[in-house]
Symmetry: D2
Subunit: 373 residues, 4 copies
């Protein structure tokens, strides 16, 4: 009986763009999925009590608190959800883990892999369930791609081309920000992390990388009338060797004028190929060498009920999911993991892995030569 | 202060696909928009008390009732939301209007224009605010198209081509259903209504129509081992004359094999053109004759914060809204209308208009000759 | 042995855009195809001897003449190729037929169907081989579409949507020209003829039409400082009933701002669909309902050696044919017909048919009601 | 006066696919362009006298010879055109240069850069005009891209992504061939050369490369029932630093299942971007940051008379050039160079440059580290 669902109480830290997206996910997921829990949007923390009270009302939480530690200390809270600035993730997560909470954390897990490892180790030692917000992977069409690759529909996988390019840093007049921080900053860490996560999600572990990073806008306004030197990469690239023998490449580029969400990939196998663009993320293009001669071509498969969990959002194909829907799927999958019904889809260990890949590519770019992550 | 927002209590009738979509809209809208009301998902009605209780839990309503009249009779209810079968819309809406409720009704408003007119008249007489669910019109890119046309960016509008094609009725083995009912059924009524609503939304009133309707699958299984003759149109077309002098056409086709959501249009003016496809509804393609020679071409404009209210869902362009997000926008706009902050975006009078267009095209197809709707 | 090929001597009338394109076709065809004849570019006629002599040199003809009748009178000439203004087609063709020449004529065969009929009758009575230049039909991908339809790959054909839209008349300041001549002018005759030819080429005879024609730019500069009223259609549309039972529509539009060559169609059948755009005419998009669930989508088939005669131009797929190559194919097919190896691909009877369709649509638009062409 | 055009006599060596394409170019160019010469297709050489005689008839040459040296020795020959196997290019070209002929040679100029250098040095010392067949660069849209970049329409160029992927070697059962020869073979040399030529044509000299080459199909049938090890690259990649400061990458891949002609690039600058795909080579996609807010997007510019020399082929835009037309442009440009009216568009020195880039990338891939070509 639905009536008997146990409650799961959530404490959200952070009310910015990502905090709002998470609140949206918590509100939407129970209306779309038959979750194992009754989600209770219990507490939201912001910098002051007043801001938090406002956020509680807007985002639909029962109450707000001006200090995130109040969430950690509340014995009723089951899940701590961290959408605060990256630099605070570690402290918050370790505190939550120490209090026995499950922890949901936005990406990147931490600016440095060493910190991410500490977080992953702590979570595993405590036996709590963790999740990092790589929500592009929740797209049914990415799931379809993974399933097709794993199921051998492309044959032996031979090569991969991935990119994540946007233009939000293309304006040289936009000021130096936390994104340019030498620790944890740069295009590769910020969005290359998505390209790397997708690559491994589809093809399995990357065995070796050869990196190349370029700083194009070498100084940015410091916000005080002067300028500040930039050391982080505007474009980060890597050649890849996958454990399965395939070779590939990724590019991260946040100054790609005109690109808004070019999180794209192409996978080539001995029997077929896939091509995907996040700017049209409800489509997957599939070429099958098994089609008859003269009738072969990339098929534009449109997302529909054949591609779970699309059908829970909409009974008709071609209507399309949106970015926020991917967050609802992420929430639902995390709930399944907490209930023990499924493995964690992208836990702290997976978040650490992405950080390691980023750092290994940085190291390779700096020092030269192939490196094992 | 947000705290002072008045409550608006909603009673939802119907828990099928559209009921679920509405519930999603009610849950999502307050997390995206600063609504003038505190939405209270108060009562949901289903065919039995038990079903309704389950639905209440799943959809997030306070309680369920086994008889929709309990919603009408409840003095606390402010808005009656009707997602029940089309044939019941009129009775329910008239009852709600009589009780002084605002009424939100899924499309089509009623199978016959005469009934729709009765509903529109009653609502206006009672002074309640009404809304019909033409949610494609809530797409920011459709809004952009309308704004560009109205603002003269295309110059004088000269011609229009609209289509709404899907393939959900393409299988001749799928049984006779309410969609094939001679009263109110057929492709033109079911999806041509969208094409017509979009055409008038963009270009203003249609002055004359010349219709053409074709029944392709002339009999369908009756579900009892026999077959039943079909009289409704599988393909409905019309030539159009707009009040602004432009000419155009629309096609409704529910047996267009391979098409999932081809709600498309092209608008040609003296200075530019627009092209749109609902299967990629976060894009609008714009040709400007003002671009310099050798540099002209259709621009793929991607939805972003420049296209309100996209930015309330996501601060970054290219991330894309989904079908359900359009329903959240529809809810928000209806709330603004109820609060008196804006005109009703698509009220019963507008719903009636679409029915009239459909019936006029049917009549023209049957009898021949141009007709004024 | 190639050495034994008989010569076929060509006399070309007209040296404008189309004359040049034909010369290109005569030069290219023998280098691509193993033609049954040795093509001899014998005489070209222009308005003066001097112009003709220049044209002969440029276009590769042996000599030029200042009077087209010299071509008719030359007993060595086997084929008379007419690319002169439309109004002259009839006189020239009848003279050539009377002289026992084969006649190749650019479209339209004649401004009026009555004239075209006289030409077709004369050619058949004389037993000469004729060809009208509908070169879009020579595209291998159009051939593929026809073959797939005829072979049942789409199942029973149910509906059709065709368009031919360009913007070469979109500028209201461009002067009144022969294209606006009440006899034989207008968008439907000029480019709608292509849309109609393609429709019948793919689906077979059109049984009935319902027309709609609109004059948008009602006056154009007369070139003498004044303006002249325009009566011909800028947009011509028709609903269609095909002999095979399918219904459809075509639109001709020469003021479709931004469109350069939108000669497009979509065909829907009970088992599949095709979509084509002339602006990417080396592609055909094919949807097969036989593909497995979750893997269906429109396939972008790229032209290649699997699609004859592409392979004669290029051994590798994806390299693309150009507009002029289509003319070389047209020439080669006409040569095969003259040699008696194949039926005439698009003879005067076929050219007449297109004119009849145009006139029937005009009549329907003027008088109302469905008409049989 | 056209009558006074001097003759230019051509001797073609090789009658395979490329020989045929060249013959097509010689036949088409004079019908499209006002060339400075009267082209005379004088002699064609094949392996035997009989084959050559047949080829002469088919390709339109005056006579055929069974020994290519007869072309070198013929004092009437002005241009020697080499489309023989790559391994023979050097011997033939040096002989032709020694005889004072202009030399037109298919790509690659020679399997090894050292040989190519010898050829370039000899040509320059002899003062003859040379041309290597990189015909993709003759595409008007590539010319437009170059012009836009050089003219500053994209602002400062920041990054580049190039690829040339096909699938003609994707079948592991296709036998070992000259393409797999350790000297001069592999995907990078065969098609990566195109990607590199395009990169430098657009952005100027590449200053440094970091290579990565992968052999995927490690053995192929030897045509005698056994198998033969493959050492050449199936996928070759490089990171690039351009002299102008931009960074970039190229990938060559001949086992990219489903790709027929993915010779694509994206260029990002501080004010705009370009995207191009050879599979739709009559289009160039242009993003301008100068467009107004909310109206920006990649414009699909279609080739037309605004993009010379398109207009010489066709007076109307959107009709499209084909692969063979690019060869006609190449011929015309070479003629202009021979006449002294323009610099050689892509001479032996340029052909050498491409070989150097290929070899430097191979070396970098083998030994590690960035290398200057």
């Amino acid at each position: 009986m639905a009536a008997s669902k146990p409650a799961l109480r959530i404490g959200l830290i952070g009310t910015g763009f990502m905090g709002k997206t998470h609140a949206f996910g918590f509100a939407a997921a129970p209306r779309v999925f038959d979750l194992p829990f009754e989600l209770v949007m219990h507490i939201v923390a912001d910098r002051t009590q007043e801001l938090a009270a406002d956020a509680a009302r807007t985002l639909g939480f029962a109450r707000g608190v001006g200090d995130w530690r109040a969430i950690i200390d509340d014995p009723e809270i089951d899940v701590v959800d961290i959408t605060a600035p990256n630099a605070l993730h570690k402290e918050m997560a370790l505190a939550a883990i120490a209090a026995g909470k499950h922890v949901y954390c936005e990406k990147p897990l931490a600016p440095l892999a060493a910190d991410a490892r500490e977080m992953a180790d702590a979570a595993e030692a405590a036996g709590v369930k963790t999740q990092v917000g790589f929500n592009y992977l929740c797209n049914p069409m990415i799931g379809l791609a993974r399933e097709m690759i794993a199921g051998g529909e492309l044959g032996e996988i031979r090569s991969y081309r991935g990119v994540h390019a946007e233009d939000y840093m293309a304006d040289a007049a936009s000021p130096f920000s936390f994104r340019n921080d030498p620790v944890g900053g740069g295009a590769l860490a910020d969005i290359g992390s998505h390209a790397l996560a997708t690559a491994e999600y589809l093809l399995g572990p990357i065995a070796e990388v050869l990196g190349d990073c370029a700083t194009v806008i070498r100084a940015r306004p410091d916000g005080q009338g002067g300028s500040r030197a930039v050391q982080t990469d505007d474009v980060g690239r890597a050649f890849l060797r996958f454990g399965n023998g395939a070779s590939g490449s990724v590019e991260a580029n946040w100054i790609a004028m005109g690109r808004k969400m070019q999180h794209d990939f192409e996978v080539y196998g001995s029997k077929g190929a896939l091509a995907f663009s996040q700017e049209r993320f409800n489509e997957l293009h599939f070429y099958s060498a098994d089609d008859s001669a003269g009738r072969r071509g990339f098929r534009r498969i449109e997302a529909g009920p054949d591609h779970p969990p699309y059908g829970l959002f909409c009974v008709a194909p071609g209507h399309q999911l949106g970015f926020n829907d991917l967050k609802a799927i992420e929430v639902a999958r995390y709930m399944d993991a907490i209930a023990g019904n499924a493995p964690e889809p992208f836990n702290f260990r997976a978040g650490l892995r992405v950080q390691q890949l980023v750092e290994t590519i940085h190291q390779s770019a700096r020092e030269g030569g192939w490196r094992r992550p």
